[in-house]
């Protein structure tokens, strides 16, 4: 049985866990809610910043295996900062 909620108006990545690379020190991972003019809207997201105690590659590898702890219920990654949006499962 599929969901009863319809999401045809959302971006194709709606509901998919994505990795959002930015042109700054931040790398976001979260469930894509939508991609709109303002940017990438994430739910249940976490962010890695350059200089965090855990190295980026280690953080990313852990996320690839088990996901991320949702430290941000919602987040908007501004469109101007977005370099790429990829599915976490495809890393």
């Amino acid at each position: 049985m599929r969901t009863f909620a319809q999401h045809e108006h959302k971006h194709a990545l709606h509901g998919i866990t994505v990795v959002v690379e930015t042109d700054g020190p931040e790398l976001w991972i979260g469930r894509c809610d939508d991609i709109v003019e303002a940017g990438v809207m994430l739910k249940d997201a976490d962010v890695h910043r350059e200089g965090d105690s855990r190295p980026r590659e280690e953080w990313l590898e852990r996320a690839r295996l088990v996901g991320v702890f949702p430290n941000h219920r919602q987040a908007l990654v501004e469109a101007a900062r977005v370099v790429s949006v990829r599915r976490l499962a495809e890393l």
Binding site: M1, R2, T3, F4, A5, H7, H14, G15, I16, T17, R31, V66, G67, V68, F69, P70, R87, L88, A89
Partner: protein
């Protein structure tokens, strides 16, 4: 806010129909986890059709033949909130995700399939993941 029970009932029944026991209260989860013998699959069910819509049929397909866990249980994220939190407390080192699936052997978590590895896949793919885990950790039924 939880969805109406009327709307979620078919999603529960999809797993109940193939032999799952629902753990609806924290006490149910503790009782299940206290019995550490053998293999058990815990499915964290979800309303979200983006992933759960393929997760449940995938589970059904995986259980149709070959090795399988001895016990099948489920909690419903967003619906049975306390039971789900209690279940997750047994693998608290892993981020919460729903739908997701956890395979236990003699009380130890031996395999976990998080939501992001279910999203965008079809039921056959999900079933293949499960069968691979069952083949590694579960015995062929007599």
């Amino acid at each position: 806010m939880p969805y109406s029970p009327i709307l979620t009932r078919p999603m529960r029944e999809e797993l109940l129909a193939i032999g799952f026991e629902e753990l609806r209260a924290p006490e149910d989860v503790d009782r299940f986890m206290a019995d550490k013998q053998g293999t058990a699959l815990l499915v964290v069910n979800s309303v979200c059709g983006c992933a759960a819509g393929m997760a449940r049929p995938g589970v059904r397909l995986a259980l149709q033949e070959g090795p399988r866990p001895e016990r099948l249980v489920t909690v419903f994220a967003g619906q049975d909130v306390e039971a789900t939190a209690k279940a997750r407390s047994y693998f608290a080192e892993l981020p919460p995700s729903s739908p997701s699936m956890a395979l236990f052997k003699d009380g130890e978590l031996v395999w976990f399939l998080p939501r992001h590895k279910i999203e965008g896949r079809d039921a056959l793919d999900v079933a293949a993941e499960l069968r691979s885990a069952f083949a590694e950790h579960c015995a062929v039924p007599a």
